[in-house]
């Protein structure tokens, strides 16, 4: 590897031109199934398949095998009246945040380093840089910059360690910015994959057995999201007999990175398309089939968890009763329904609440804000303190100014960081009551907190005028000093997310082009803290899923080179591709969060590909098992059907 530092990007480009690289062309393999064949070029001669018995003794492109099992699928299929089988494929797609990766770093002669970069977690940036450069964590201060979209793709470092090495050598600050082409070629897309699904059911729609075999591209190094792909793909259903097997497969592609609900959209495209096929074969309404088999509180999943406080059936009920579901369709139009599941996570977070001398309140967290979470933090603290949200200013602290916080991902911030902020606000509220009691010279138990004011209670009720937060803040020096609290949590009990989407499409019989006419996304959100930002998460996730369904893919030439490393040829949805997306929020509160919040950001990208595929099936009578469902593919499928 080589890196060049220069005083301008033009000089750096010219210097790079002077580096001559001689490549030895080695055999390569791009396709996931090809990479698994005997005789395929082996990428790493020290990679042995994990998770197989007996232990692997020859190198393989299969990095890992995972399996999940409940009951006896053979017995289940023997009971089935109807069986459907399908083989589905998806292509690698990129998160396609509009802001390219960028950083500015300085490494001082004393080794003290400062990193400004856009990421989903500056503690993550600090940890990777320290590890790669052999530094102490305390010698690196990572500053959170505003982030221009991440969707999982900014949960790893690309530029920062290189910039640090250059800064160390030059003694100067170093700035690195990726071009869009760099972003497509050298940062992680998510996996493409193949999924074989088989479902068996009784005539009444009860699913008796389900199997899925998933093979995911990891890129050049292990680490595809095949495991969560396996865990999520049937999690919407209460299945007695199920086996899910996954393979993490390396091939000569960019190393994958997380992308919104990693793995679930890929596997669920297949399983929810198969559910649609099953409904057709049974002659059953697709929502009724899902209701018949829906996971409920107490349902045990194939991966071992037993669900509590879930809202899946409520999303189905809302879908069935939504006017969209029964609206008339025209010629060449079809309607599809699909559901999806995502775990959501909690984890380590820190939140600090500072009462300022003038009665305004500052909140500091360690969670980069990728979708409006600062506003939610401010709202939760304001609610606890009983003050207007405008009085609360949320900021994101750097790695030296706020306690450790796991990165922004897994739909965890409003849940976990929100829990830390809420608890910190509660401590501040308790402290404010204590200060008022001190000023009034009454016991703290005799003070209540109401609408942002301390009020005397019990025997002292009415004895003193209520004391607003600002008045207590003004006297803080006399009552014990600054009024602040910082709380760190390792939050557990993130409620899982379930969603059901309804999609109408029209397929142009001439061109094979699919227009999405109407889209309704229904989701259990726990309790929506900031409803319009929650809607935004749902709408944005659905739009990304529609792009994944219809347009987006990494296209390779025969030499294995990426052919579409730009926004012109890697086509994400534009405004004229989209209809309005109606977001319907179902609120089944999460008892583990002080305000009932569940993660909302990821599950909306899980159902769309199958919802669109099922709608296309309705419109043209053809199952499209291969993504993206682009016009040439539809045209070819329609031609083949017409003979």
């Amino acid at each position: 590897m080589a890196a060049v530092a220069a005083t301008s990007s033009a000089i750096a480009d010219a210097a790079l031109e002077l580096i001559e690289v001689k490549y030895e062309i080695l055999p390569f393999v791009i396709d996931v199934e090809d990479a698994m064949l005997p005789g395929a070029p082996i990428l790493h001669d020290d990679l042995f398949t994990a998770g197989v018995e007996p232990k692997a003794t020859t190198a393989s492109n299969i990095a890992k095998r995972v399996a999940f099992k409940l009951g006896d699928v053979d017995a289940g299929f023997a009971e089935a009246d109807v069986v459907v089988e399908g083989y589905y494929t998806t292509q690698a797609v990129h998160q396609a945040y509009i802001e390219p990766h960028a950083c500015v770093v300085t490494v001082g002669s004393d080794g003290q380093s400062l990193i400004y970069s856009s990421s989903q977690g500056h503690f993550m940036v600090r940890a990777y840089c320290a590890k790669l450069l052999g530094m102490e964590l305390s010698d690196i201060r990572a500053m959170p910059s505003e982030i221009g979209g991440g969707f999982g793709g900014k949960t790893v470092v690309y530029l920062e360690p290189i910039a640090m090495a250059l800064s160390k050598q030059t003694g100067r600050p170093v700035k690195m910015v990726m071009t869009r082409e760099d972003v497509f070629r050298s940062t992680g897309p998510t996996s493409g994959g193949t999924i074989a699904v088989k479902l068996g059911a009784k005539k009444d729609g009860t699913i008796t057995a389900a199997t899925a075999v998933l093979k995911f591209q990891a890129g050049a190094f292990p680490g595809s999201p095949v495991q969560p792909g396996c865990m999520t793909c049937f999690a919407m259903y209460d299945l007695k007999n199920v086996t899910i097997t996954g393979y993490d497969v390396v091939s000569n592609r960019p190393k994958v990175a997380a992308y919104r609900a990693p793995g679930a959209p890929i596997s669920t495209f297949a399983t929810e398309s198969a559910m649609d096929e099953l409904a057709l074969k049974l002659g059953m309404d697709p929502i009724a089939l899902r209701e018949k088999n829906a996971a409920k509180d107490g349902t045990k999943t194939a991966y071992g968890v037993t669900f509590q406080n879930i809202g899946y059936t409520q999303t189905l009920e809302a879908a069935k009763n939504h006017p969209h579901y029964t609206a008339p369709l025209g010629p060449n139009q079809g309607r599809g329904v699909a559901s999806g599941f995502w775990f959501n996570i909690g984890g380590e977070s820190t939140g600090a609440v500072h009462v300022n001398e003038d009665g305004s309140v500052s909140i500091v967290t360690g969670s980069p804000d990728i979708g409006g979470s600062r506003a939610s933090m401010a709202m939760m603290a304001a609610e606890v303190l009983g003050i207007p949200v405008e009085k609360v200013r949320p900021v994101i602290g750097d790695t030296a100014t706020i306690g450790f916080t796991h990165l922004t991902g897994g739909s965890r911030v409003t849940f976990a960081t929100g829990m830390a902020v809420t608890q910190a606000a509660e401590r501040v509220r308790d402290d404010l009551k204590k200060r008022a009691a001190m000023i009034w010279e009454i016991p703290v138990e005799a003070v209540d907190w109401k609408d942002g004011e301390a009020v005397p209670a019990g025997a002292n009720a009415g004895g003193f005028d209520p004391m607003p937060l600002a008045a207590i803040a003004l006297k803080a020096a006399k009552t014990g000093g600054p009024i602040i609290a910082e709380v760190s949590v390792n939050a557990q009990g993130a409620g899982p997310g379930f969603a059901t989407h309804i999609c109408d499409v029209e397929v142009d019989p001439e061109t094979g082009h699919t227009t999405v006419l109407r889209y309704t996304a229904i989701q259990d959100v726990g309790r929506a803290i900031h409803p319009s930002y929650v809607e935004g998460q749902i709408q944005g996730g659905a739009a990304q899923g529609i792009g994944w369904a219809l347009n987006e893919e990494y296209i390779y030439d025969k030499q294995g080179k990426l052919d579409n490393a730009g926004f012109l040829d890697y086509r994400v949805p534009v405004a004229s591709d989209m209809p309005m997306i109606e977001a319907v929020m179902i609120e089944v509160p999460n008892p583990r969060h002080p305000f009932g919040a569940k993660g909302v950001g990821e599950v909306p990208i899980v159902p769309p590909m199958a919802a669109v595929a099922n709608a296309i099936r309705g419109a043209i009578g053809i199952r499209m098992p291969h993504l993206p469902m682009s016009p040439p593919k539809l045209r070819a499928a329609m031609d083949a059907k017409a003979g």
Binding site: Y97, I147, G371
Partner: protein
């Protein structure tokens, strides 16, 4: 390579800067004029994050050379508000929560202003096609389009 002296008008004020002949107008705005509201998402005119208005026309500033700005009237996102008073399009973007990460927002607001300056009464479809050169990866466009239509109605004096 010697720098060129460029004299132009930016957001109603006379402006001058030195630019390398190959420098994009976007880089000149950001690095020479310190107007960092316009963003670079692609550098190839595909994403619209760098949208500005040049002599009344919507332009991707990454596709224009800085020296080409000579003698022209440029409006950037920094010139859309009237002092402290937000432009109706800006206000409606806030009211409708029509942004998440905000990276595409300056370009979308400039593009919307360019639309409404010319076509005060667009249909939803017209607005969607006009804004098709401005990528947003966060929102799915729903709230953006609502903000645009609402701003258009307000600017026409119609209560939505």
């Amino acid at each position: 390579m010697s720098k060129q002296h460029v004299t132009t008008t930016i957001n109603g004020e006379p402006a001058e800067f030195l630019a390398e002949p190959f420098m994009s107008l976007l880089d000149a705005l950001r690095d020479e004029m310190h107007l960092t509201g316009s963003k670079e998402g692609c550098g190839s005119g595909d994403c619209g994050a760098c949208s500005i208005i040049v002599d009344g026309r919507l332009v991707c500033s990454c596709l224009m050379l800085a020296v080409e700005a000579e003698g022209h009237e440029i409006i950037t996102i920094e010139g859309v508000a009237n002092g402290d008073e937000l432009h109706p399009v800006q206000r409606k973007f806030l009211e409708h929560a029509a942004l998440q990460c905000g990276y595409c927002t300056p370009g979308l607001i400039v593009a919307t202003k360019a639309l409404l300056d010319r076509h005060p009464n667009p249909t939803e479809t017209e607005a969607r096609y006009w804004l098709a050169g401005n990528l947003c990866r966060c929102t799915g466009y729903d709230k953006i389009i609502r903000a645009v239509m609402d701003a258009a109605a307000e600017m026409r004096g119609v209560t939505a």
